[in-house]
């Protein structure tokens, strides 16, 4: 089953990469080549893929993921304006530090997505991830050094959605 899902994902990437639909006619030769290549690649690398393939079948996860995209892009844009402001300000208003936060997410993919989201959102960057759910965040403007309060500010805005998508 996980080989089948990997096969589908690889085929989608292949089709986006070669894009056989341009010019009105469909280029079947590239699609057949993609099917063969994805088949063998998924046979070889299927064991290394995800640990819980059943999660790919939940339709609700995709809906939450679609809801997550605009929220993520918006905070990404805010992050960039924030950095631009700090960098262009003549006094360089920064108060950096590394704080500790705790997440209740468990699965590896969820923690990866959370760490990546934190890195791309205003003023924060993941430095270290521990197995017991603690993350160390480099914060360019430390508002709260306390674990609980920093968790409220940094982690909570993504945690609920990511829990629905990945857990």
């Amino acid at each position: 089953m996980r080989k089948g899902i990997l096969f589908l994902l690889l085929l989608i990437v292949w089709i986006l990469l070669v894009w056989p639909f341009s010019g009105g006619a469909v280029d079947y030769q590239s699609i057949v080549a993609g099917v063969v290549v994805s088949f063998f690649a998924s046979l070889v690398f299927g064991e290394l893929f995800t640990e819980s393939p059943h999660k790919f079948l939940g339709v609700k996860r995709y809906l939450w993921a679609i809801l997550y995209i605009p929220i993520f892009l918006w905070s990404c844009l805010l992050a960039n304006l924030d950095v631009a402001y700090r960098v262009l300000h003549p006094l360089l208003p920064i108060k950096p530090g590394i704080v500790k936060v705790k997440t209740r997410l468990k699965s590896k993919s969820a923690i990866t997505a959370l760490a990546n989201s934190i890195t791309l959102t205003p003023g924060t960057m993941t430095v270290e991830v521990l197995d017991d759910g603690y993350l160390y965040i480099h914060w360019i403007w430390v508002k709260e050094a306390d674990v609980e309060k920093a968790t409220l500010i940094i982690v909570r805005r993504f945690e609920n959605l990511l829990e629905r998508i990945f857990e």
Binding site: V83, G97, N116, T119, M125, H138
Partner: protein
Amino acid sequence: MNEFIGFTFIIIGALFDLFGCIGLIRLPDLYNRLQAATKCVTLGTCGILLGSLIIFGLTAAGMKAFLCALFILITSPTSAHALARASHIAGVKLWEGSVVDKLKEDTEKK
């Protein structure tokens, strides 16, 4: 019309890339520089690629731009995390104006 929107995206993306480079020069230590580099360069480059997607439309070139933007969104924060973690383990110090370093405190406790 498509070209106008596409070029707007490309100009905004290039501007953010520029801000990232200014941050790389002005900010004091490695961690702050990584912040500026990761955020601005990710959105800036994605903006440029999105602009080319809008200009080229659903063609081979446009879809490649889309795929590149997707991969940059996944890999750029991951590599920033790897760099920051490696330099903290290697002992790169924070800027002297930094207010707190929980990671160092916890490593010294162990």
